[in-house]
Symmetry: C2
Subunit: 208 residues, 2 copies
């Protein structure tokens, strides 16, 4: 069903299309042409048409695109209509903030559990999701089959946990650690977020 061989550049633009279409909808608009959308988003009209054309024919000649319909299609392409179970590993400052801050439901996931090695955290609830001890990870995963994990633990701990999770069937990671998951496990999907690297890159660009 999903078209193959779509480039990352295209895929990475999809969430932005989705967000902009949401805004247009909020403004009460019902239709938009690729040219109008391109002006809003600072892209070219042909890029928009070509991006969308990777997945289907969502517009109509002479008319343009129906905003609500197009947003729905992109949502489906992204899989937002069939949320997948996810767990969060490491409920320190970062993990806790992520759990509080991100609305997983609207991003294609359903957060079903959080895990930490620290006994004092166990039992606490964050957004109605309980924090469990890391020693119960195996059992929990065999019962609930999470498909994705958000990794908020240090590099050293990550390798072992990753091996474990992948054996338990986890297929994707939102990775905040410096462990290069994809190198050891090319079969899983990984999105890396490295604050530190981003800051250093910014530092470089601001130097001189």
């Amino acid at each position: 069903m999903k078209p193959t061989g779509i480039s990352n550049s295209v895929i990475n633009r999809l969430p932005r299309y989705y967000r902009f279409l949401g805004e247009l909808k909020k403004e009460g608009l019902t239709r938009i042409s690729s040219r109008e959308l391109s002006e809003r988003m600072h892209l070219t009209a042909s890029q928009i048409r070509q991006d969308l054309n990777c997945f289907g024919e969502f517009g109509q000649q002479g008319y343009g695109y129906n905003i609500e319909l197009l947003q729905g299609e992109i949502g489906r392409i992204l899989g937002l209509d069939r949320p997948q179970n996810a767990i969060l590993i490491g409920v320190g400052n970062l993990g806790k903030a992520i759990a509080h801050y991100i609305n997983f439901e609207s991003k294609g996931f359903h957060l079903i559990g959080m895990f930490d090695a620290k006994e004092s955290l166990v039992g606490q609830m964050v957004r109605n999701v309980p924090i469990r001890h890391i020693s119960t990870l195996d059992e929990f995963c065999r019962e609930n089959m999470p498909r994705a994990a958000i990794l908020c633990i240090p590099k050293d701990a990550s390798k072992e946990i990753c091996d474990q999770l992948i054996k338990l069937g986890v297929k994707g990671f939102l990775n905040f650690s410096h462990y290069d998951i994809a190198l050891d496990h090319p079969q899983v999907e990984v999105e890396n977020i490295h604050f530190g690297d981003s800051l250093m890159t910014l530092s470089y660009k601001l130097s001189n």
Copy 2:
């Protein structure tokens, strides 16, 4: 002093080189060849030599690279040896976690202030940095001249704050909001971190 026209691909690899060299140093090693490093990092030796060659000649034929020396050079290239003042805007769940979680000093920045519109937060300290009311932003910036801002506020509030900050001399942003800073302000440097988009991209890759 800084070479111009270095591609983003190269710049984005620098923090990773820096991290790996730090690990090698910890292991007590003193020298490494591009081939050995390439095996560790899963790159080609050629690419490493070419990347480094953008900035100078840090190795020696027949010998390889001195690890400590090379890490120092990359640190200097990234600007880590001359930290720049930064402020953080928006001390909600995310902002507070970022302030707790990130070691700014080792990433080229010095966090000198945090700002929020919520009165109840004002006066609190996070890592010895006080939270100030957003209404004092102008005065604070004129006195302290921060060069970078970490933006942890919603899109709607971001546009106005950005305009203000740029007028006050801020040159770079670590942007967690969905406001496209660079479109309105091409003269400033921006590193975007969009959790939501990353999650949706992951959702796409895990669908089917």
